[in-house]
């Protein structure tokens, strides 16, 4: 009768709690920071027109002049290519940054990713980087 072959030792799994992630420092600027809410009141086209009428604005900085609402409401050109669904997972802090950037700029998460890919050399046509929900970018 042949000897029973030695079976490998069972290894106890590591049941220790996962190492704590280093805590991120609190953000310097909260999403609802009142300073930025306050400034936004002065960054609209209406506020600019009032400023001119009331004499508070006498020189225009073309680099920062708010767009007229009708300019912003113009429909963007249609995307040129058929679209396919892409689903993936990213670290939560990356998602938070994408959402924050969307809140600040109006550039959708889809478009942020496309722009980043284009910056990496992917061939992505400008017409395909459009927000068809007509959300203003400024």
């Amino acid at each position: 009768m042949s000897a029973r072959p030695n079976r490998p030792q069972l290894q106890a799994p590591d049941l220790s709690p996962p190492a704590k992630q280093p805590s991120r420092t609190p953000p310097r600027v909260a999403a609802d920071d009142p300073r930025f809410t306050a400034a936004a009141q002065f960054e609209t086209h209406d506020a600019y027109v009032r400023g001119v009428q009331e004499g508070r604005v006498r020189v225009v900085n073309p680099e920062t002049l708010p767009h007229r609402p009708d300019e912003r409401e113009q429909a963007p050109p249609r995307r040129r290519s058929p679209e396919m669904s892409l689903s993936t997972k990213v670290p939560d802090y990356v998602m938070q940054q994408l959402r924050l950037r969307y809140a600040e700029t109006g550039v959708t998460i889809r478009n942020q990713i496309l722009i980043a890919l284009r910056n990496q050399g992917f061939n992505i046509h400008e017409k395909d980087v459009q927000d068809e929900r007509k959300r203003p970018r400024r």
Binding site: R28, F36, F42, G55, R58, N61, E63, T64, P66, R138
Partner: protein, 266 residues
Amino acid sequence: MHKAGDSCTAIITFAQVKGGSGKTTAAMCTVAELVARGSSVAALDLDSNRPLGEFFRRVPELQHVEVAVPTGERRVSALVRELAARHDNVVIDLMGAATNDTQVAMALADLVIVPSQMSGIDLTNPSVNYVTRRRNGTQGNPASTRKRCHLFGVRGSKCGVETWRQAADAAEISNRTIARGVLLARTSAGAVRPRVENFLREQYRRIGAHVLATAFGDRAAWKEMTYSAHIPHLHGRESNAAKNFISIFEEMMTLIQSATATVAAA
């Protein structure tokens, strides 16, 4: 001065609707002082001549300072938010005119400094009309505020005075406490305060403006700074010019702290 670990970034705006008042020099000096104190700082240059970035590139200790400029793609507030997310302090230098950026940068600020030279033109310019608004003690929204617009004071823009009132308006409309101070610039650097400086202080007091006790003295060091890249308070703390700006800076920080305490107590 805010340092890493503080809960909030400090935003300092230098504003004056008249050009040549000393905004950019004061902004440069403020950035240099923050760097000298080991604080991280960025700047937003809203002057189309872009003097800040050009100057910082020539000073080795300031070459790392991030200077943002508007590109037309982003709002001023979005640019400042990005800077504030990365730095403990943001310094904003405005164009020397009443632009569409003026009140935006004021509303963003924790501290608005209004540099003013000694001449009457820095105080008042009678060729322009300025209408300001006043909220009659109510906590209303901007729309209700607009309904109560009325002329304030005599006709005529008063450059330093107007800038002060624009800052007051920005604070009122946005329902925020914004520390403010007038910085008298290019004053006599001697020990004796000239009569015109006292007169100017009195004119600002008449409108309720806070004038910093320390004035920005007219010294060759500030004029040479942009040629020599030698910043008195960054490269040596003992000269009279260095002590002058350090004193101004400490007053600015006191103003921010007082405003913060007022908000906390409210």
